[in-house]
Amino acid sequence: MIALLLILVPLVSGLATFLIKKEEQVRTWSLLAAISTFIIAILGVAVFAAPGNWTFRAAWMGLLNSSFSLRGDGMGIMLCMLTALCYPVIFLSTWTTAYKKVNNFFGLMLLAQAGLMGVFLAMDALLFYFFWELALIPVYFICSQWGGEKRIAVTFKFFIYTFIGSLLMLVGILYVYAHTPGHSFDIEAFYKSGLSAKEQTWLFWLFFVAFAVKMPIFPFHTWQPDTYQQSPTAATMVLSALMVKMGVLGLLRWLLPVFPIASYLNGDTISLLAVTGIIYASLIAMRQDDMKRLVAYSSIAHIGLMCVAVFAEDKSALQGTMIQMFSHGINILGMWMVVAIIERKFGTVKISALGGIAQKAPALTFFFVIIAFANIALPLTNAFIGEFLMFKGILGSKVSQNGVLIMATAGVGVILGAVYTLRMGRKVFFGETNALTEKATDISFQEKAILAIIIGAILIVGIYPQPFLNAVDQTSQSILKNSDVLPMLMKQKH
């Protein structure tokens, strides 16, 4: 029931938002909707945590043997929590932003939330695909209607990229479907499809392109910096904190277990791509003068590391990835919030135009520094846990041939990450004030409160990660069990 509610509440309230006329009412209503989703999620974890509450199954398209099947495993529940937590925060942090046709904006945002929840919970391939697109379409509309100057061309590129990816995945889904025992879209049937190594290989790439575009992984990333820069802040937050996780979840839930042999065979190739992406994005991030673009490129680097860890197929790497999915969502949300505050205060996000904010706005600087530390994975922050586990897993990977090399290169990426993050902090917040930052004031109480939530989440995961690790323990074990490739390789040989 919880699983169904998490989708229904944003869906219905989102549709209702289109009908509300007054701006005040729209904002209050959508905030209330987001908060109630959050409360449902909290209740689902704290009170109704029994698996039965996170499972829902109903007949849907009998002709196709596809059912409306939802189930929350550890990873799914955690990502739902992240989504439920982020939405009120996003709404509050962009509370004062003026939108024309505000009801459409919030309606689309809530629809995207419903899509996200669906993607995280769907256990039926066709349903997964439906929600995957449901999450995409509203964001496309949001970005092209409320974005920056070049929004139309930029988001169109984004749309076409992701749409091609999705469609290729659809072909893959159909092919696997045709080869499952008893023709079913159910995820368990997909796991049992028993495809040959050759079939798996090309299906693997069909799926991978869809996930890689969404994440994005080098070289499928070119839409990302432009889109992040041009989108309205709220949409950028959704894109980078939540949508990206759809891709990672796709890798973990659909790619590894459904195509274990191909994942085993192609894992290293993809790791190399991802590592290339890490270094490449980090180098570009170092050269950026635009804070938004810098954060966007840093996101490519972070996601690249997750991708490497996924294909290490090691328990601690998988656990690390899942923790990092949560942490990265929180951290990048914090980053965007700081960037948004700076943009609102000074009207620019050019690093070279800013400086010395720390003298005028100490509270903002305090929050920024902690978020920046989390971004470069300092111990006691959430990202440290994730990155540590991921690196441990990559190094100990039995699957990867070049674990050490890949880990070392990815490690360079982490160092570069520290370089550009700290460099940005130094240039923007410290040093001398200039004409622009001279008259700056500190952030309001409301902004402090929102940032404090972020910091709270960063520290809780960073200091006491055990409950989170427990939550994803089961999921990572079952992924590994389903993608254990050795018995399958044996069987294929005979």
Binding site: G62, I160, L167
Partner: protein
């Protein structure tokens, strides 16, 4: 049989309606009542209640599939009448006659979906075509319309000739017109039969505008009055497709292995030509003409696959594609400028209409949650199930992504650009119809089971 006779009869009634009624409103009401009557009669027949008993076994056989398909065609025509019948007044003075011609076309479609005899196929195609030539040229004072009609007539007559030649060759090879009695498997090597089938295939391809036999389509669709273009591009097209599928499924299924490859090539070519050319169009109407070629490419998937899924897929395609296209043409007919720029800022002036256009476009592009998605999905599934031609599936998918480009251009224009209002004269009733079409599209997309459950009665 109910539907065939009744639609013919209704056509005759409509011809006389212009003498009986001086004003146009009763004519319209009569036509709508007629189509409802037709729908009821057809549903009754599928329940086993025949109003007439004629032994047509050597000519026509009304399988349940044909009846379902007829139901869809009639229901779509009903929707078409509801949204477009007022706009027919603008075309010319022969208001009642237009309805008569449409009823005759429906008769032709019913023949084409249920023939068991190649002569009946020919007759059906001709009954469809000749009224279409007239409708194309019905805007008598419009040069473009005249040119289109002439072009269509010449090309159409030519392809009819080819079809007749093909049927004659097949007769020569098999000694019968009845597809049930043809010993096709025994004559596989016969050159006469192969040539005949090839000619028949070509002429059918012409009728449904499959590349490279599509050259008439953009000009005719563009030149014909909007209201008739929408009928031509939807109900007529999927009607002939149903006949096409019927021909290949029931008559030539034993030799299709050889054909499949060439049909796949034709499908790929059609998708390519239709989509790529549509990208470069400046007028939404011409874009839709080319996109209808592209959609024909997808419908050809049903012929490549030739299995049960393909049958259901074509039914779904008929619903999804017809509803969306009828809807969008209903709107275009009320626009003074139907270039892409004409749609600029429509969302500001007419939010509801813009929303409807968006849903039509999303459905045509095949975005999930819409009927169009499921239709495409079924087509892809059918081909994948048949086992071969995965390249075609992937190619189709890439082309669907291309199609998103031009369908989304309309959405972009409406929502993200500003411009003067080029849209006027929509009545409240027509708005309800538009919304109704949208609801149907989304409902079909979400719960195709219900639609199928209802269609299979």
């Amino acid at each position: 049989m109910n539907a065939v006779l009744l639609s013919g009869l209704l056509g005759v009634v409509m011809m006389f309606a212009s003498f009986l009624f001086r004003t146009k409103a009763p004519v319209r009401v009569l036509a709508i009542l007629g189509i409802v009557l037709l729908l009821v009669a057809n549903i009754l027949e599928s329940k086993g209640l025949r109003l007439f008993h004629l032994d047509t076994t050597r000519f026509l056989s009304f399988s349940s599939y044909a009846l379902f398909f007829n139901t869809i065609a009639i229901a779509c025509t009903l929707v078409y009448f509801l949204i477009s019948s007022k706009d027919m007044q603008q075309v010319g003075n022969h208001y009642a006659e237009y309805f008569a011609l449409i009823f005759f076309i429906l008769t032709g479609i019913f023949l084409v979906t249920s023939f068991t005899n190649l002569l009946m196929l020919f007759l059906g195609i001709e009954i469809i075509s000749i009224p279409l030539y007239i409708l194309t040229g019905s805007a008598k004072k419009d040069l473009k319309s005249n040119e289109a009609a002439l072009k269509y007539l010449l090309m159409g007559a030519f392809s009819t000739g080819i079809m007749l030649l093909g049927i004659a060759f097949i007769y020569g090879a098999t000694g019968t017109f009845e597809i049930g009695k043809m010993n096709i498997a025994g004559l596989m090597k016969s050159n006469l039969l192969t040539t005949g089938m090839l000619l028949l295939l070509f002429s059918m391809c012409f009728k449904v505008s499959v590349a490279p036999f599509h050259f008439w389509t953009p000009d005719v669709y563009d030149g014909a009055p909007n209201v008739f273009t929408s009928f031509m591009a939807t109900i007529v097209k999927v009607g002939i497709f149903a006949g096409f599928l019927h021909l290949f499924y029931s008559a030539f299924d034993k030799v299709t292995l050889q054909w499949k490859f060439w049909l796949a090539i034709l499908a790929a070519l059609t998708l390519f030509v239709g989509n790529i050319t549509a990208v470069f169009q400046q007028s939404v109407k011409r874009m839709l003409a080319y996109s209808s070629i592209a959609q024909a490419g997808f419908m050809l998937f049903a012929l490549v696959a030739l299995n049960e899924t393909a049958h259901e897929g074509l039914l779904l395609y008929a619903i999804a594609y017809s509803l969306a296209t009828i809807g969008i043409f209903g709107i275009i007919a009320k626009m003074t400028d139907y270039s892409f720029d004409g749609f600029n800022g429509l969302a500001t002036h007419q939010p509801l209409v813009a929303l409807c256009v968006t849903i039509f476009m999303l459905s045509l592009a095949g975005i999930p949650l819409s009927a169009g998605f499921l239709a495409k999905f079924y087509m892809l599934k059918a081909v994948i199930q048949s086992g071969d031609y995965l390249w075609l599936v992937i190619f189709g998918v890439l082309m669907a992504a291309v199609s998103a480009y031009y369908y989304f251009r309309v959405i972009q224009a409406m929502y993200f650009k500003q411009g003067p209002n080029h849209f006027s004269g929509i009545s409240t009733f027509e708005k309800y119809v538009l919304v109704g079409i949208c609801v149907l599209i989304i409902f079909t997309g979400l719960f195709p089971n219900v639609i199928f459950g209802w269609l299979y009665f």
